[in-house]
């Protein structure tokens, strides 16, 4: 019962966060959005009228034509509800409603590889690539991290413990994107092992696209793993050190169970709840970091889409991408809460 209440509060909070994020985004880009939308309407109306030959010939002079065009633009703006300012409650509610129902409209400049300018199409195309890269990276990182951390934590003060801790502190201070630049320099420019740009040159409908994409994924994957696993190992190590002090470990040791067996079978089970929580959180965290990493490697995912949208100020794409990134972030926070509540029996009784 308590668990259910805990999850309900968390769920409500996260929903509030999602709404706050949307509201803030709309508030921040709203005024710019308004100008762009109005400009779009006037261009559309003007071209509709000038293309209509019979209507064009019915005007006596340009003054009358201009008057007509202006009136039609005003009518259209009123019909679309653009006459009230962007901060009017109606408009904000309308935009929120549209976004919640995943109707992000059309992109102003960008288009998907398939040529669609619908924001949801673009995002649906890019999202799997980001998920592919960062999920793979997180899985590799966590595996190396858990293994190293367990080893280091079970032998505190040993060489492997010291190296792991030192590596964690040092690697955490490097900006991932800078290491990315160096990796491109070493492996793409000097050794010619991997391509420098992570976007495959083959069109996406080619059968060779998937292998090419995987080959291009190698360099970013190696970089993210290299920077990430130290922190993971350190985290697992710290959890492990606490568990190794527990009575049941001492008992198992005295009855003569091998150290390795204790570490990888009993002790790891006990550190599972926090590790899984951190795993869920770091997955979502990596999505935020994707913006810079993907810009460095030119990986054709959400992060680069976001960066491109910002550089050309493609507002519908910015809003859509922010929504999706935030939603992902919040879902993983929620999942980690859920897992934590499920795995840690103490939460249920609190």
């Amino acid at each position: 019962m308590v668990l259910r209440r805990y999850l309900a509060t968390r769920g409500i909070i996260l929903f509030c966060v999602l709404m706050t994020t949307l509201l803030l985004t709309i508030m921040l880009v709203g005024s710019n959005m308004d100008v762009i939308l109005k400009k779009g309407v006037s261009i559309q109306v003007r071209s509709e009228i000038t293309e209509n030959k019979s209507l064009m010939s019915s005007f006596k002079d340009t003054k009358e034509l201009d008057q007509f065009i202006q009136n039609s633009i005003d009518d259209r703006i009123k019909a679309l509800g653009l006459d009230s300012p962007w901060y009017s409650p109606n408009r904000i509610a309308l935009s929120m409603h549209k976004i919640i129902t995943l109707d992000f409209g059309h992109a102003t400049f960008l288009s998907s590889d398939a040529g669609s300018s619908r924001v949801s199409d673009i995002i649906l195309e890019k999202l799997p690539r980001t998920v592919l890269l960062f999920t793979t990276a997180t899985i590799i990182i966590s595996m190396i991290g858990i293994f190293l951390g367990a080893l280091a934590g079970s032998k505190t003060g040993s060489k492997i413990d010291k190296v792991t801790s030192a590596f964690a502190v040092i690697s955490g201070s490097f900006p991932v994107w800078w290491i990315g630049m160096l990796m491109i320099f070493v492996f793409a420019f000097t050794l010619h092992l991997f391509p420098a740009r992570a976007t495959p040159l083959i069109p996406p409908n080619d059968p060779g696209y998937i292998p090419a994409l995987l080959y291009h994924m190698a360099l970013p994957l190696i970089t993210i793993t290299l920077i990430g696993f130290g922190t993971w190992a350190y985290l697992v190590r710290n959890f492990m050190v606490n568990v190794m002090r527990e009575d049941f470990v001492t008992v198992k040791k005295t009855i003569g169970i091998a150290q390795r067996k204790i570490v990888f079978q009993s002790a790891l089970k006990n550190v599972a709840p926090p590790i899984i929580t951190v795993l869920a959180l770091s997955l979502s965290g990596s999505l935020g970091g994707a913006i810079i990493t993907e810009a460095v490697f030119d990986w054709p995912g959400m992060g680069r889409l976001y960066f491109e949208a910002i550089s050309v100020m493609d507002l519908p794409v910015i809003i859509g991408a922010t929504y999706v990134l935030t939603a992902f972030f919040l879902v993983s926070i929620f999942v980690s809460d859920l897992l934590y509540g499920y795995l840690d029996p103490r939460i249920k009784t609190v």
């Binding site: 900006p175 420019f189 100020m313």
Partner: protein, 450 residues
């Protein structure tokens, strides 16, 4: 208690000492930069005309240490001595520039830049004396006619057609054909083979005029090379060493301001919530949860694009996302401390809650706060660098991220301009590490005491 103890524990740990050492160096570098590097180098960082005399994408000059064949260094020569001969109706200004040329490749070009104040039409003569004693006449040139005494500046390039013709006049002293060679490859060549003649070259500029009050204010001779300075130069000819130097105080300023401000506000927020408890605590923590769950980077990007990318506003934006974690931890600490006897005692004595919070609770959490200040500095620096790297930083400040952004837009990585990419990243990392070292040793010391 407090600061003194913390300092002594840092000094006892090796890691803490290293951190403090690096920090001291960074502070010294900042002080040096602010005092000794001319301010205009940073104000005009983005003004290309300020950097025209520098070489384009030049390697750092220390690479010559590792090379068998030395790459020519780019040199900006100030004139060593000026002799002025003044007659009744004439004045002759003789400037000479000396350079010891000991490189294995020819210079890429040379430029004479001058600013003169005169009237009439002075005649400028440009000669060079080589290490083997041969003097080559390069140019005779009359400056534009000025009716009244005014200031005139100009540059004479080695690609000047008259210099070329004059050098070709001396082609008979060379044992090989010099017809199709650039001037600098003739002037700096041995006479028997086409190789660099090493030694001391003296360039002499004689200006004769009928105006006895004329003067040359400023003149420089640039011998173009491919290595320059400690770090080299970038595609826009800027001296990267100066950029990195200015980046140091900027990074320290950004990092320290953001972390101090966010830790301080988080601390007060958390302690207040924890001390008050009940409904206040509940609602304050829910607000905290909301900010905590906002995705920081997308928001920072939107803020930078829509509001402003000024560095001071950016510091404010970074603070918005910085205080949340601290608030959570200090709340839980305050919850523990508020039930201790001395707090209970001062409560029963009727002290105001603000006094209890600031006098009794916050000092207890201070060691933790100091550690979190140090630990959160690197995050602030790397986030700012990351935003600058995306091109969303304040372009008027040469931060390290900004330099890396320029490097990536000019394709420095794929063109192998490593000296443009590696040093800024090393600076970011070293600065981050220094604070992490200090923070870690502070953290362990505060944990031991708890």
């Amino acid at each position: 208690m407090g600061l003194f103890d913390d300092l002594s524990t840092i000094l006892k740990s090796k890691v803490g000492m290293t951190g403090i050492g690096i920090l001291l160096c960074l502070v010294l570098v900042s002080a040096f930069t602010i005092v000794f590097i001319p301010l205009d180098t940073y104000k005009e960082w983005n003004n290309p005309s300020r950097w025209t005399l520098f070489p384009k994408s030049a390697l750092p000059s220390w690479v010559n240490v590792f090379l068998a064949k030395k790459i020519p260094e780019h040199r900006l020569l100030e004139n060593i001595h000026t002799t002025i001969q003044t007659g009744d109706n004439a004045r002759k200004i003789i400037q000479s520039f000396e350079t010891d040329y000991a490189f294995d490749y020819f210079p890429s070009d040379f430029i004479y830049q001058y600013t003169a104040k005169y009237q009439g039409t002075p005649v400028l003569e440009f000669d060079v004396t080589r290490p083997d004693g041969i003097t080559l006449h390069l140019l005779s040139y009359s400056l534009p006619d000025l009716k009244s005494r005014t200031v005139f500046s100009d540059k004479i390039f080695s690609t000047n057609e008259s210099i070329r013709k004059n050098t070709l006049l001396a082609s008979n002293i060379f044992a090989f054909s010099v017809d199709s060679m650039p001037v600098e490859e003739v002037i700096f060549s041995k006479i028997d083979t086409h190789e660099v003649l090493k030694g001391k070259y003296t360039f002499v500029v004689k200006t004769s005029t009928t105006d006895v009050q004329s003067a040359i204010h400023d003149s420089k001779l640039i011998i173009g090379g491919k290595v320059f300075g400690l770090i080299g130069t970038d595609e826009q000819r800027r001296d990267l060493a100066i950029g990195l130097l200015w980046g140091t105080p900027l990074a320290l300023f950004i990092g320290i301001t953001v972390s101090v401000a966010s830790v301080a506000s988080g601390l007060v927020y958390g302690v207040f919530a924890g001390y008050k408890g009940g409904k206040t605590d509940e609602s304050m923590m829910r607000f905290n949860d909301i900010i905590y769950a906002l995705p920081a980077l997308p928001f920072l990007i939107i803020l930078a694009v829509t509001v402003s990318n000024s560095i001071f506003l950016m510091i404010g934006f970074l603070m918005i996302f910085g205080w949340v974690g601290i608030a959570k931890v200090s709340r839980s600490m305050a919850l523990q401390i508020k039930n201790r006897q001395f707090v209970e005692a001062s409560k029963t004595m009727g002290q105001k809650s603000s006094k209890i919070i600031f006098k009794h609770i916050i000092p207890q959490i201070m060691p933790y706060a100091l550690a979190s200040i140090a630990i959160s500095v690197p995050a602030a620096i790397t986030t700012e660098a990351g935003l600058s790297f995306l091109g969303l930083g304040d372009p008027s400040f040469p931060t390290w991220g900004q330099i890396l952004h320029d490097a990536s837009t000019h394709g420095a990585v794929t063109r192998g301009l490593w000296w443009w990419v590696i040093p800024p990243g090393i600076m970011i990392t070293i600065t981050g590490l220094a604070f992490v070292f200090v923070g870690n040793s502070l953290d362990t010391s505060s944990r031991i005491k708890r």
